[in-house]
């Protein structure tokens, strides 16, 4: 999924982290030209990352993209309208849990993946040695949104194909093709790591209260910022600057 699609889609960023931080945390700069006149600004850095279920600001992501390593390119098909959100009830179409229904808990748009609660388990063996057989770790494997799952119609709880349509109010909704019923985007989609609903956010010590943020203190005035501050502080400037030339 590309950035423009991501902005246009209804998918919310669960981590609630600023995208500058996400970009900064995964950056791997190998060489940067010094900021001197005789250098053109050039950067040699990692361009292609392998996105997995590990989010890009974590240490596991870095471990999977260690500096200097090259991994094969993964082909990700473009998706115009992202249609699977956290909290959606979906039906699995492949694998051991084929035909079962579950709730989407995590969405990974970098790979067109979703993770469904309690379905499509896979098992990993870690810590195996000569004497010790190792420990089995169980976790949900991701499912591909275009091939492996389909949405569940809320009217009869059966899997269905759907289409994005517009309501008379101009809102974009998913409509079940079998029953024609609207499949609403679940409220869970708006949850973030910091709060369940925006109203339930607990203010921290350094947060400015909402009322203060919304207060209008601006007064239009014929002066620059600096002139206004100087007036406020009682600084008077009576010298006139000498004529200068910009070239």
């Amino acid at each position: 999924m590309r950035i423009t699609q991501y902005l246009a889609s209804k998918l919310k960023n669960f981590s609630n982290l600023p995208k500058e931080y996400i970009e900064r945390s995964k950056k791997q700069v190998y060489w940067q030209t010094p900021k001197e006149l005789n250098y053109l600004p050039r950067t040699v850095e990692r361009k292609r990352f392998r996105y997995t279920t590990n989010r890009s600001w974590t240490g596991q992501f870095r471990q999977q993209n260690m500096p200097g390593t090259v991994r094969r390119k993964v082909l990700v098909e473009p998706i115009e309208d992202w249609s699977f959100f956290r909290g959606d009830r979906i039906e699995v179409l492949v694998g051991k849990d084929k035909g079962k229904q579950g709730i989407v808990t995590q969405v990974i748009p970098e790979r067109n993946w979703v993770i469904v609660e309690g379905l499509n388990w896979h098992y990993r063996k870690v810590g195996g040695e000569k004497e010790f057989p190792g420990i089995i770790i169980k976790s949900e494997a991701p499912l591909h949104v275009t091939k492996d799952i389909r949405l569940v119609d809320p009217s009869d709880l059966q899997g269905t194909d759907f289409e994005w349509r517009f309501t008379e109010e101009g809102e974009k909704v998913r409509v079940s093709l079998r029953s024609g019923r609207i499949i609403p985007v679940p409220e869970t989609n708006n949850q973030t790591h910091d709060y369940k609903t925006p109203n339930a956010y607990i203010e921290r010590e350094k947060d400015t209260p909402g009322a203060v943020v919304g207060e209008i203190t601006f007064q239009p005035k014929l002066s620059t910022f600096e002139m206004d501050i100087m007036e406020e502080m009682g600084i008077k400037e009576e010298r006139t600057p000498v004529k200068s030339y910009w070239y």
Binding site: N16, P18, K206, D207, A211, V213, F218, W246
Partner: protein, 269 residues
């Protein structure tokens, strides 16, 4: 919340002339309130968060109770539309609150690296940075509006696109001089405007070839990507591909050998 209030009351007692009423007034709309950092105003304006002024080196460090935390939760950064409704004085004060916070965070990050600890919630640095950038944007907007109204110019440092000694287009930021250009002999001697010569032309030829190659490779890459998508999904929506890869002729690619999969197509299924 309660500890903050108690702190405010204590400060109010100390200052004597403070209206704490404004701090209490109105419901706290948390969804708006997620600003990373509060205005640390003088006591006369108590409506925003203040921390006790210590005026020692420990102001460069975070609160002691955050030292061993793995996560320090804060709200989001200030947005430009929120800053546009604030007075110049508020913005001026907010700038220094943010600056102090940035100093504190960078000190903490350095100290954590030094002591082999994890720096909790490093995204706070980015939130402060975004707030400061937005604040600067708003101040520049205001100054630009004043200068345009009074002088018809933006009042910003003049810039113009010129070609440097290598024949490349650069953005030349002009400088302020006491003398006009025709009198400034030192500047006339030092400046190196214009380009020419065989070496420069040869350089430009190779430079343009490099740019062209980058463009050509990008085009080939997207062409290959379309072919691989079509090979894996023969029934992929061509309209989507056309919109996503506007420089690729999708219709022409459909008959390419690379698009055909390595399997015998099923007939009559």
């Amino acid at each position: 919340m309660s500890s903050t209030l108690i702190k405010c009351f204590n400060l109010a007692k100390a200052a004597g002339n403070v209206t704490v009423r404004r701090f209490l007034a109105g419901p706290m709309q948390s969804w708006q309130a997620c600003s990373a950092l509060a205005l640390q105003t003088p006591l006369a304006q108590m409506q925003m968060h203040t921390s006790p002024v210590r005026r020692d080196l420990m102001e460069f460090f975070d609160d002691k109770k955050n030292w061993s935390e793995t996560e320090v939760k804060v709200g989001r950064a200030w947005r430009t539309e929120e800053l546009r409704i604030k007075s110049n004085k508020d913005l001026h004060q907010l700038w220094f609150v943010l600056l102090k916070e940035r100093n504190m965070l960078m000190t903490m990050e350095h100290e954590c690296n030094d002591k082999m600890e994890t720096f909790p919630s490093p995204e706070r640095i980015d939130k402060v940075k975004i707030s400061m950038e937005n604040l600067e944007t708003v101040v520049r907007e205001r100054n630009k509006a004043y200068h345009l109204l009074e002088t018809g110019e933006t009042g910003e440092r003049p810039q113009k696109p010129v070609q440097n000694a290598l024949g490349l287009k650069i953005n030349y930021k002009t400088c302020e001089h006491a003398l006009p250009p025709f009198m400034n002999l030192k500047w006339i001697k030092s400046r190196n405007i214009g380009f020419g010569g065989r070496a420069v032309n040869r350089f430009l030829l190779k430079y343009r070839e490099k740019l062209y190659n980058a463009k050509r490779k990008a085009k080939n890459r997207s062409r290959n990507e379309v072919m691989m998508i079509l090979r894996r999904n023969p029934n992929f929506d061509l309209g989507v591909l056309r919109r996503q890869f506007p420089d690729v002729d999708v219709e022409k690619l459909r008959n390419e050998d690379k698009v055909r999969g390595h399997y015998v197509p099923k007939v009559g299924v």
